[in-house]
């Protein structure tokens, strides 16, 4: 799946790996009973354990273990029934213990894979190296005081899953597809809310370049990217920077870099002389984390259907295009909405209505599907009216606008406004006779060979019916009358 980029001196291959930090969906923190919910006043969601008071001890949250295993299953990964929590030792203002509890040698989840799809429709597999559980740090605010930093420990101790990919991506597009797919899987599983803006999902991106076929080049790691756009910008910038550097006879330094959102550039974060030595060792306050097959099996049974499976079903059973299936499965809520709306109805028509009309209206109104004024059942009701011939497609669009505005059912709108399609043959014939009687010249011209006038007659009949005549019947009956 490699694509090459051209530098001044020849072709280069890009190699990208990603470490994604995903905040686990749980009520309380990984090792303490304080709330893991975002958005409290400073140091409010903090227990004595989170503040690293002397003698405080960690006790693991069962939910976080379940979420990690569930995620591992969603990534088709090896689940390790024995894993170990280690301490990663370093000093930082928002790291109250002076160490982060993480998993180093024995992570809870081992190798797995994610399937990604690119815009050209091609699919690729990206390997997962491992997934482990660890604590989040607190937050430092540097802009509150000229010579001080302020520390808020609300995030301190919240459970994170660090998901490490193999260095198997080779373009910014692939990296974008990977993070989107990962986010989608996490959201389907309900193990991470995927909110990148709030930082629930953020990525450290490792980038290196090499001559095709050669050994891996030196990589840089750009930390804490919280949007797909920033990830792509970082990769593009780093690739250019590294190629230029090497082509100018320089060398890439293995280092940690920061992305500047205002310039779209990366810069060195820490000096080399302060290289970290994390002194990992097993946390003596905790015992190895163990569980049995029955525990895993139970989680397997409760697992929701994942986007790849749903997509497969949509394409193969419902006959949807791969494009529509992608759009409808990107979010769990969208797929669920669609399944409800299309249940027992024409799957294709429903898919079309959702992806064109509903999404169009939501976009225009700037709201999410969850806030849609039209419920799945209501959309289904509209599809029913189309399918049984009660309204035409054109009228249906009008009805949909009204539904979106008022939240009323389609049937109610059709009844109130008398929009029901006229399919009564005698009524249509009467209207046709009237139109033909008032336009004898045009009838003669038509019969004389000016067939283009057919459209004119259709228009007149529809106008007379206020748009409610069944267009198919109008066509058919008009043809019969004119072609006598």
């Amino acid at each position: 799946m490699s694509t090459f980029v051209s530098g001044r001196t020849g072709e280069w291959e890009i190699v990208i790996g990603m470490e994604v930090h995903a905040q686990v969906v749980s009520n309380s923190k990984l090792f303490s009973g304080s709330s893991a919910i975002f958005g409290a006043s400073p140091n409010n969601h903090v227990s004595l354990v989170d503040a690293a008071m002397p003698g405080m001890l960690p006790v693991i949250n069962a939910q976080c273990v379940k979420q990690a295993v569930l995620t591992g299953l969603g990534l088709n990964a090896k689940i390790n029934k024995f894993s170990v929590f280690d301490r990663k030792n370093y000093f930082y203002a928002d790291l109250p213990q002076g160490y982060q509890i993480s998993q180093f040698k024995h992570p809870i989840v081992g190798e797995g894979e994610v399937q990604i799809e690119l815009s050209d429709g091609s699919t690729h597999k990206v390997g997962i190296e491992r997934l482990h559980l660890e604590q989040d740090a607190g937050k430092s605010l540097h802009d509150q005081h000229p010579s001080k930093s302020y520390i808020d420990l609300n995030r301190s101790g919240v459970a994170l899953m660090e998901i490490v990919s193999k260095p198997e991506m080779h373009s910014a597009d692939q990296a974008a597809a990977y993070i989107k797919k990962l986010r989608s899987i996490l959201r389907y599983l309900g193990t991470c809310d995927g909110n990148m803006e709030e930082g629930s999902l953020r990525a450290d991106v490792n980038v290196s370049v090499r001559r095709p076929g050669e050994a891996l080049g030196t990589r840089t790691e750009t930390k804490n990217l919280n949007s797909v756009k920033f990830i792509m910008q970082t990769i593009e910038f780093e690739v250019q920077r590294q190629i230029e550097l090497i082509e100018d006879g320089g060398e890439v330094m293995q280092e940690t870099r920061l992305f500047d959102t205002s310039t779209g550039m990366t810069r060195t974060m820490r000096g080399k002389e302060d290289a970290h030595d994390y002194r990992y060792f097993p946390d003596p306050d905790l015992l190895p984390l163990t569980f049995d097959d029955a525990f895993i099996d139970e989680l397997k049974i409760g697992m929701p259907e994942l986007p790849d499976e749903i997509k497969f079903r949509m394409v193969n059973e419902y006959g949807l295009s791969s494009y529509d299936a992608n759009v409808l499965t990107e979010e769990r809520e969208t797929a669920a909405f669609y399944e409800l709306a299309s249940d027992g109805r024409d799957r294709k028509i429903t898919a079309n209505w959702m992806s064109v009309e509903l999404f169009g209206a939501l976009n225009k109104a700037g709201i999410e599907l969850a806030q849609s004024p039209v419920s799945p059942n209501q959309l289904g009701g509209l599809i029913d009216l189309i399918s049984d011939g009660s309204i035409s497609g054109k009228i249906a669009k009008e009805v949909f606008s009204e539904m979106f505005e008022t939240g009323k059912d389609a049937k109610l709108i059709v009844d109130e406004k008398g929009l029901k399609q006229v399919s009564d043959e005698s009524a249509i014939v009467t209207m046709i006779d009237d139109v033909l009687a008032t336009n004898p010249d045009k009838v003669n011209e038509y019969r004389g060979g000016k067939e283009k006038l057919f459209g004119f007659f259709v228009g007149q009949v529809m106008k007379a019916s206020k748009g409610q005549a069944n267009p198919g019947m109008v066509n058919k009956l008009l043809k019969q009358k004119l072609d006598l």
Binding site: P42, K148, L286
Partner: protein
Amino acid sequence: MSVDKHVVKKIARLARISVSEEKSETFSADLGNILNWIEQLKEVNTDGVEPLSGVNEHALVWREDNITDGEITDKVLKNAPETAGEFFVVPKVIE
């Protein structure tokens, strides 16, 4: 086996303890002696021996995912050398 002053300073830096020139000399000697004495562990054949990091024989117990703690900002901040509003305060950190 000796631990030279540079190593002492590197270790002290990792441990965030400032050491004077004089102290680093004392520690250099002390650490050298202690590590020399510890070297006797090398006599023990530990081939194939699983490391033992704790003696507990029970399994790690998990807690239910309930919010049972927190919302004690005053207690959390009470002993802090410097605070501002509901924040801890430290010298400015430049990344």
